[in-house]
Symmetry: C2
Subunit: 334 residues, 2 copies
Amino acid sequence: MNITSKQIAELCGVTRGTVDRALNNRPGINPETRVKILRVAEELGYRPHFLAQSLVKGHTKTLGIVLFDIHNQIFSQLFHAFEAEARKRGYIVYLVLSNRDKDLELEYINNLLDRRVDGIALLPTNFNKKFETLLTRSRTPIVTFGNRLSGPFPYVWIDDKQAIRDSVAFLSSQGYRHLIYLSPPLMRKGKENIYVPEQRYLGFIEACDEISDMRHNVIAQKNYLAELEQLIEKTNSKSAILCSSDVYALEVLKWLKSRKIRVPEQIGLMGFDNIHVLKYINPSLTTVDYNVNEIGTKLADILINQINNDEVPSETLIAHHVLQGESVTLDRDL
Amino acid sequence: MNITSKQIAELCGVTRGTVDRALNNRPGINPETRVKILRVAEELGYRPHFLAQSLVKGHTKTLGIVLFDIHNQIFSQLFHAFEAEARKRGYIVYLVLSNRDKDLELEYINNLLDRRVDGIALLPTNFNKKFETLLTRSRTPIVTFGNRLSGPFPYVWIDDKQAIRDSVAFLSSQGYRHLIYLSPPLMRKGKENIYVPEQRYLGFIEACDEISDMRHNVIAQKNYLAELEQLIEKTNSKSAILCSSDVYALEVLKWLKSRKIRVPEQIGLMGFDNIHVLKYINPSLTTVDYNVNEIGTKLADILINQINNDEVPSETLIAHHVLQGESVTLDRDL
């Protein structure tokens, strides 16, 4: 329960009109009365009724962002940049975590729309027509990242397929002749939005197919370590494990260490994302680096520009490059 | 701009009262008309005006949480638990990051109050009377964690002083006779709220003073590595570095490795927090473990109970314990 201008009027023995004139710095009021009203208002912690003003002005100066989680540092880094840009432009941010749950994502988007956010940045788990219709009908500016939607929602991310193609090319150029690609489960296709894992997978297959003597395997199941162990045991080429994220790569590295399999001497290992925590990992991980801060900043920028009815690009792809660490040998003859 | 019940009334050729009856499932309306109205409402993506209802009901079903950052995993883990509990109870959450900036924190709190959040969970950087008066006057339920305020705001955290006392006792019991404590800068005292680092520092000093033959040093400056190097070079006792957080410990471990100083053979190392990422670190870090999920859940629980005018505990301290890793030798005679 906040102080109202009516209460201030009563306390100062003036009309509400006079209070409004004082608070809104309008003329037609005795200077002493103005000072008195402003002092009382400040002492009582009066703040103009933002919600009521929002109803009139039609904006709330709030944004929503839908992420899977913030356990993966790539998302907490992205959020930091998004939030900083939003604040700079006068917005504050609801962060909701879908945990890749389609129903939860839908519930959250409805909650955000109920609260009349001015715009939503969305990493979608849903993907179908009905979902996109909900977004379009909300008449709320949306910007997407990671997984794509089919509708005309601006999109900010990296070129996932090309990034994995570049990774394969790099490993190939260093003499690797057997690549094992570790992907999140892909059988969710048609059930949820798996645009990112699918693009990376396709990049891997395409790139390997173009190299005549490249053996390759894909592991895309939850219990990947058993399958990985079998593949590693049987290999007799110079081989590397290419992971679709650093989080996977860190799990694999931990497991390889527990099996006394040396990286990179016995097997190469490569991640994706270049998350902050890599700086504490030995051997340092070869990975795909891109400026996730730029993605977060662009998302807020494009969303707010949309809110302001400025024209925005339909697609913004951030540059990426292979970052060489110690987990891949640069020597052709091991 | 969303669809209003007035627009639905026009489209269906009925009065607004009839539309309200249909949407709110009240009697006094022809069943066919009801079905027609509901179908039109759904097709147009109508949702009841949450903001307008909020003004009437006096609540927005939103919470704010003020964190320093989410780079430190202890905070992202805490947020996950807070957000999950809030959702379970029908609330969604603004996450704002103060970056330990007092002015920014104040600005954010005002922004949250403007948006009429029903409650705020606060890790404060500010601490003075004026700040606490602002919080009290807002008449908005507040729960604090980490740094304490002097006012009657419920508090959820761990017993920081005791946790460091327990760490010193553990290191002492393993034969360590020289402890170097790494703290965030403490000269900010009186300028900002440093309750947590101060309690941990006091715990260290108290515990060391009680052990007659324990040499001890405190490093509490930004460029701590130069001072650390000097102290390590001069020591000839069995010594360990006790860090006030895992983040510090990881930085130190990285530096020790670069100097080829072996942990734990040449020096012991201990962290604080048991953040997720420790599972990827070698040698595994001895640290202080506590259930940060429980802190996040309790914060939401206590905040929502306050909102509901239920009685809440003024202080909730979560248990902690020393988690033994490989970075401290358990052998007295090295």
